[in-house]
């Protein structure tokens, strides 16, 4: 299939993985501005020249020696954790396959929020909606969360808006600047400052008691809506017992659909790509340990951070433990990971602060910049191919992981 020459670039820096097309302003086509893309592009620009030059002219002998030492660490290890910030199908496949080959454990580093959502789904289920459906169909949006949602996915309001004014209830801790972003995107915004814990209860009361309970604008919007989409992101949801909160909301949504139409749009992070890929390969979304190459799932015990704590606490186990860290971001290593003293192999674009015999670095590029990859949009409906015009295929996480057990 021949692609058109004007295919817009697909940005890989947030879970919207959007195309960022040009827009017409005052009869001039201007590139769409996105703060996240802007920041990330500057970081890449700052490091790209060095990165690609380094990768293209990498000292193959030195790299081979590092790889050899990494293979040595893998062979010596009695217990292996594969973790990191894994954002592409290709990295996720390689991570899971490596963990299987080594009878190790695999879990992304920051998976707590995602697992709150996953555990709720495994207990209750839910009624979901994709971004495109909600955009075209909703006559009411309820957005629950705080400013972090817009920081993580700055262009989400634009992607949600279909070109006509739609009512929106903003619930949670939203700054004036954020409220303005939602309004400027074209929504008719009402902001409710309330504890998020109260939301499922509030929605239940409105729907159960009807207009007798609430004659406010909010209540009328909720009762009159023919298709309500409730947007939240587990990573921007400040509630205690997040999984139970999601349970309650999901139950309300399921029951409400007996008479009208309501659905949730649970916006996932870039890490959803890992959970999806791991699920199709093994049947489980992560937090698995392989035994005899068969996956065993324990969402409570097989958590990456707990594994590190357990191994670190045991002197002998620590000596035989190895972390393989896979990074699809330009971000610095998380401080809680950096504090760990276990041996590790870092596979990513950024070197760790120190390199030693027990901390090795295998350099990679960035999806969409030095290699092509596939990533899920946050609603986990669209799997977008992030193309790359000038790839460096040897320096991908999957290529390195393949070599580690060769």
């Amino acid at each position: 299939m021949n692609e058109p020459s004007r295919q817009p670039p697909i940005c890989s820096f947030c879970s919207l993985v959007c195309e960022l097309p040009d827009e017409l302003h005052d009869l001039q086509m201007l590139p769409v501005f996105c703060s996240k893309r802007d920041i990330q592009s500057k970081r890449i620009a700052a490091s790209l020249e060095g990165l690609t030059t380094d990768l293209r002219h990498a000292d193959s002998e030195a790299l081979s020696a590092t790889l050899g030492r990494a293979i040595g660490l893998v062979r010596q290890a009695h217990s292996v954790l594969v973790t990191g910030r894994i954002h592409t199908v290709e990295s996720a496949r390689a991570a899971v396959e490596l963990a299987q080959r080594l009878d190790g454990m695999v879990d992304p580093w920051d998976s707590d929020e995602a697992f709150d959502s996953i555990l709720s789904m495994q207990r209750v289920g839910g009624y979901g909606v994709s971004l495109g459906e909600a955009r075209d169909h909703s006559d009411l949006w309820i957005v629950v969360g705080d400013d972090r949602l817009l920081e993580q996915t700055p262009r989400l309001p634009h992607a949600m808006h279909r070109g006509e004014s739609v009512p929106m209830l903003l619930i949670g801790r939203w700054s004036d600047a954020s409220i303005q972003v939602w309004s400027e995107a074209g929504f008719d915004v009402l902001c409710i400052e309330t504890g998020l814990e109260e939301i499922p209860k509030y929605l239940s009361q409105v729907s159960r008691l009807g207009s007798n309970y609430c004659d406010s604008q909010t209540g009328r919007w909720i009762l009159d809506a023919k298709y309500t989409s409730i947007l939240y992101s587990p990573t921007a949801l400040e509630v205690e017992c997040r999984d139970l909160w999601i349970d309650l909301l999901s139950r309300w949504v399921l029951n409400r659909n007996e008479t009208t139409r309501v659905a949730t749009l649970a916006w996932g992070s870039l890490q959803s790509t890992f959970h999806q890929t791991c699920t199709w390969l093994t049947g489980f979304p992560g937090r698995i340990r392989f035994q005899n190459h068969q996956p065993s799932y324990d969402p409570h015990r097989h958590r990456a951070k707990d594994w590190c704590d357990r191994q670190s606490a045991s002197g002998t186990a620590a000596e035989k433990s190895l972390i393989i860290w896979i990074d699809d971001t330009l971000d610095d290593l998380p401080t809680d990971f950096d504090a760990s003293k276990l041996r590790r192999v870092i596979v990513g674009p950024n070197p760790p602060s120190t390199l030693s015999e027990s901390q090795l670095w295998l350099p990679t590029g960035i999806a969409g910049t030095t290699f092509a990859a596939n990533m899920f949009r946050g609603d986990q409906t669209i799997l977008a191919k992030i193309p790359c015009a000038d790839p460096l295929p040897s320096f991908t996480p999957s290529a390195w992981l393949g070599r580690l057990t060769r």
């Binding site: 021949n2 692609e3 289920g125 009624y127 399921l254 999806q276 890929t277």
Partner: protein
């Protein structure tokens, strides 16, 4: 050139009728009946007392895509029996296992080609990715249309069929699909507008379009585009008592064009009997017997735990209180379709479940041409695909069938005609419903048979009076001429192939600017260009996958 000889085998493929042992050759990746006199045979297998079939083809099995992955997610529990050093010898670990297990278990039954029947256009890349990660199988998928708002508005505005054909061609090609699937035509979208039922001649709640209009437009598009497989139809009113009326109306709606009815067992119910639920399998079977343009797959129910999953949110939601255990997932997706998933347990002693079991078998036994009725459980909806050997035994062994029939609910037994159907399938008929028929219906000339020149997907079974034993444990399996399994032990896999439809009548529709895709409308509806979800063939070749084009041969 590498030559393998299978000596003294009995060939069973539904075409070649000889029961005498003969020799079959595998020359590289193809089959041959003869080789040059001076040719050197590299490997020789003496297979006396064995029979050989081509690799099995599952025309309708949910093995990849968003809802399949949700089903995996919904069922984290694992069968304890599957844990151990050789878990593949036990039951499936879950009703919808991961891709690694799926591929392995299909191969261990002798299946080599499978089709995911419900790829959402927006989600087709994921479906293909999952299938790419399903080892041992060549795969393809059908793209779900008929609830996509672009198409519905085109039909509602009485767009010309040429324009619809262009749009359909774009959707099939950009999804790298084999065929068009329609699920509850218009009904999934109607449910998004809170309509709970949609009959074949009932209008959509917001558009002047009926399921009949959709079926007519799509079956016409499939025919005029020359797609290998006819319109693959999941009828209206899934699982509803009395739905035989809408099923027959669906057949009428295509006005004699080729059509495939999928999981037909769920669509031939009456509303008579002691519980307002009865079999109308004979009516559907009669119609199929009289209509050469109709094929079906059965969607047989097998007793036990499973997960039902479907794009038909309307009817899945209606059944949500039947979920066992009580959890369920539904989604409305991208102005194109939706999905609903319910864990479900089919019980022998339950009236409706028992009758569903008999209805599926009735269809198999009443339809005379085995190349137009295909063996499926609509995995995982009627039960996991690993039940196929058991189902084959049910078809081949009347006494075995009746031994299970005896355990059904007394009312189900009382109103079933199954005991009067004494037919027992022969081996060549089993080959027809699992290989030859699906291959023909899909335009796969070189699969599903053992003719010279066919792809050397070959399965060798040891003769056994117990068909379940025989079909659950082939002696050896070849894929594309390579030995990939021996007595349950998996060997190195060969290359994988993606099967897509040829477009003999519309090659120009694949280029950008196809008339049928209104880019402005698309962008307004979805917020992205059509290219975001379109799959380029390089995505397969870059992953080392081959591409095979299927073509209808009449």
């Amino acid at each position: 050139m590498t030559i393998t000889r299978l000596k003294n085998v009995r060939i069973v493929d539904g075409i070649h009728a000889s029961s005498k042992p003969t020799d079959l050759y595998i020359v590289d990746q193809k089959l041959a009946r003869q080789i040059p006199a001076d040719a050197r045979i590299d490997t020789d297998y003496d297979l006396e007392d064995h029979l050989v079939m081509s690799g099995g083809i599952d025309i309708h099995t949910h093995i990849g895509g968003g809802k399949v992955n949700l089903a995996r997610l919904l069922w984290p529990e694992r069968s304890s029996k599957s844990v151990g050093e050789k878990p593949w010898l036990g039951p499936l670990s879950a009703p919808v296992p991961g891709t690694w297990e799926t591929g392995r278990r299909y191969l261990q039954m002798g299946y080599t080609t499978c089709f995911e029947p419900a790829m959402l256009p927006a989600n087709a890349r994921q479906s293909h990715m999952e299938m790419r990660d399903t080892p041992w199988l060549d795969t393809g998928g059908y793209v779900v249309l008929g609830n996509d708002r672009m198409l519905l508005s085109m039909i509602a505005s009485r767009a010309g069929q040429d324009q619809i054909n262009d749009y359909v061609a774009w959707m099939v090609a950009s999804s790298a699909a084999m065929a068009i699937k329609v699920v509850n035509a218009g009904g999934i979208d109607a449910f998004k507008f809170n309509q709970r039922q949609l009959n074949v001649d009932e209008a959509h709640p917001t558009l002047p379009v009926t399921p009949r209009d959709i079926l007519w437009s799509l079956s016409t598009a499939a025919e005029e585009l020359g797609l290998a497989h006819p319109l693959h139809v999941h009828c209206s009113n899934l699982g509803t008592p009395g739905n035989i009326t809408s099923t027959l109306a669906t057949l009428d709606a295509v006005e004699g064009r080729r059509i495939h009815l999928t999981h037909a067992q769920y669509h031939c119910y009456g509303d008579q009997g002691p519980h307002g639920f009865s079999s109308e399998a004979s009516k559907l079977a009669d119609r199929v017997n009289r209509s050469n343009h109709v094929s079906i797959d059965v969607g047989q129910v097998l007793f036990g735990q499973t997960i039902t999953l479907s794009a038909d949110t309307m009817h899945q939601f209606a059944n949500r209180k039947l979920a066992s255990p009580r959890k369920q997932i539904f989604q409305d997706l991208e102005c194109q379709a939706g999905c609903g998933l319910l864990p479900f347990r089919y019980k022998e002693g339950q009236y409706v479940h028992g009758l569903q079991w008999t209805i599926g078998l009735e269809l198999f036994l009443r339809i005379q041409d085995p190349t137009r009725v295909f063996l499926t459980t609509d995995h995982p909806n009627g039960g996991p695909f690993t039940g196929y050997p058991h189902l084959i035994r049910l078809l081949m062994d009347y006494d075995f069938r009746m031994s299970i029939f005896d355990r059904l609910h007394p009312d189900a037994k009382a109103c079933s005609s199954l005991p009067s159907l004494k037919r027992e399938y022969r081996l060549d008929e089993i080959a027809a419903i699992t290989r030859l028929g699906p291959a023909r219906a899909l335009g796969l000339q070189h699969r599903g048979n053992l003719s010279p020149g066919s792809i050397a997907d070959v399965v060798v079974y040891r003769n056994d009076n117990n068909a379940e034993t025989m079909f659950s444990s082939p002696e050896i399996v070849f894929r594309k001429g390579r030995l990939v399994m021996r007595r349950g032990e998996l060997l190195e896999d060969c290359s994988k192939t993606v099967l897509v439809s040829e477009f003999p009548n519309r090659t120009d529709a694949l280029t950008w600017g196809a008339r049928g895709v209104n880019r402005q409308r698309w962008q307004k509806l979805y917020g992205y260009t059509p290219w975001l979800t379109a799959i380029g063939s390089d995505e397969f070749t870059d992953e080392g996958l081959g591409i095979e084009h299927a073509l209808w041969h009449g």
